[in-house]
């Protein structure tokens, strides 16, 4: 087996770009949802919890179809984005990133929620009695103490995004250079006779990327958690 060609490296680069963008978009939303679910009691909390987990259990094609309805040119959000901000997601790498972010959301929320629940609320009370308002107590106590969960959520989300297939191909199709990420390129290669080596090289790169992401998250979380926390 030879090294990947430059066209194959382009596919890897696109996959990384899509996954990094998906992770960055996913993080703040996931943390806000995780905090709400961990710390607040409100009507509809169970429903929100279930809705966050939907992408985990729905067929990915359904998630992709719902994204198409919402973010397509004529969908309510898609039409607004195009009219007001001049952004279209259809058939673009940004659309692939959105699909990956939505699919990664439940994993990220779960990791972050566990780490927020593990932060002792009595420490927050102590911070309040020492003169910190709600927001400052959150920023100086809850946020840093839940950092291992943020890192774990980020890397898990990233790894999930690298492998995202179903929602992406349904939502933004399989466009070379825009939405043809590693899994889609592997799938496309399998449809064409004589590309076995290309498929094998791309699969090998996928394995290495996923492994590095997992090991990196384990290392980050152990460092942040003082040797006690872990992802694996």
């Amino acid at each position: 087996m030879t090294l990947p060609t430059s066209a194959e490296w382009d596919i890897v680069a696109l996959s990384l770009k899509v996954s990094v963008a998906a992770m960055l978009a996913c993080l703040p939303v996931a943390y806000a949802l995780a905090w709400l679910l961990a710390r607040r009691r409100f009507p509809g909390r169970m429903l929100l919890d279930a809705a966050v987990h939907l992408p985990l259990v729905l067929p990915p094609a359904v998630t992709g179809w719902v994204l198409l309805l919402l973010f397509g040119r004529t969908g309510p959000v898609g039409a607004w984005l195009e009219r007001v901000l001049g952004i279209t997601l259809m058939f673009r790498w940004t659309g692939a990133a959105l699909a990956a972010a939505v699919m990664a959301l439940p994993l990220a929320v779960r990791a972050m929620r566990l780490s927020i629940e593990a932060v002792d609320r009595r420490l927050v009370d102590a911070a309040r009695s020492l003169g910190a308002g709600r927001i400052r107590a959150f920023a100086t106590i809850t946020l840093p103490l839940s950092l291992p969960g943020i890192l774990a959520g980020a890397v898990l989300g990233f790894a999930r995004s690298i492998g995202e297939f179903g929602a992406t191909i349904t939502f933004v199709s399989n466009i070379p250079g825009q939405t043809r990420t590693l899994p889609l390129a592997i799938y496309t290669g399998l449809q064409i006779p004589g590309t076995e080596m290309q498929v094998a090289r791309l699969a090998a790169v996928s394995v290495v990327l996923s492994l590095v992401a997992l090991l990196l998250s384990e290392w980050l979380v152990r460092r942040a958690g003082g040797g006690r926390a872990h992802v694996l």
């Binding site: 002792d120 009595r122 420490l123 009370d125 102590a126 911070a127 309040r128 009695s129 020492l130 003169g131 910190a132 308002g133 400052r136 100086t140 106590i141 840093p144 103490l145």
Partner: protein, 207 residues
Amino acid sequence: MSFEIALRHRIGETAIALDAHFTEPLTALVGPSGIGKTTVLNMIAGLVQPDCGRIAVNGNVLFDSAAGMDLPPEVRRAGYVFQDNRLFPHMRVRANLAYGERLSRPEHRWIGQAEAVAFLGIGHLLDRWPATLSGGEARRVAIGRALLAAPRFLLMDEPLTSLDAARREEILRVVERIRDELAIPILYISHSPAEVARLTSCVLRLP
């Protein structure tokens, strides 16, 4: 210095009723365990909202259900020494001590970090992490952190628990020195009659 406290509060089966006005430098709050002593401190600190009543310290009203007044904990200036210390595990001792001081108004401060550190004898601990402190060391740091937050009064929840006899004596001396040398009213939870007899003659009994 004075505490004026009139409180009614119910949590589950426990009903707390307290009417008291006291002016001693140190007042002991005593009573059997589970009677709600810590809840009273939490209500004075603003961490638990009473069902109804009025709390004023040195004439400053902190809570008054009739007037619809309920100051949030961060502006009550309560120096709360928790039974479990609650030092922030991700900050060194130095940062723990500075936490409340940094948030206080300069004109409210009445003790500096150097003075507090010398007073409590914790100079050698400043670069340590809370997890590495012994029980007595952690307690002294918790007291220092509360003093440095420019409090108007101190709330101490059984500051001698989970300490051995030598450390208990050491912390007791610190409390006596705060009582005698720093002009700040203290409300002190204890379940040891000997400890209370040594510290004050002003005893508030629950229920």
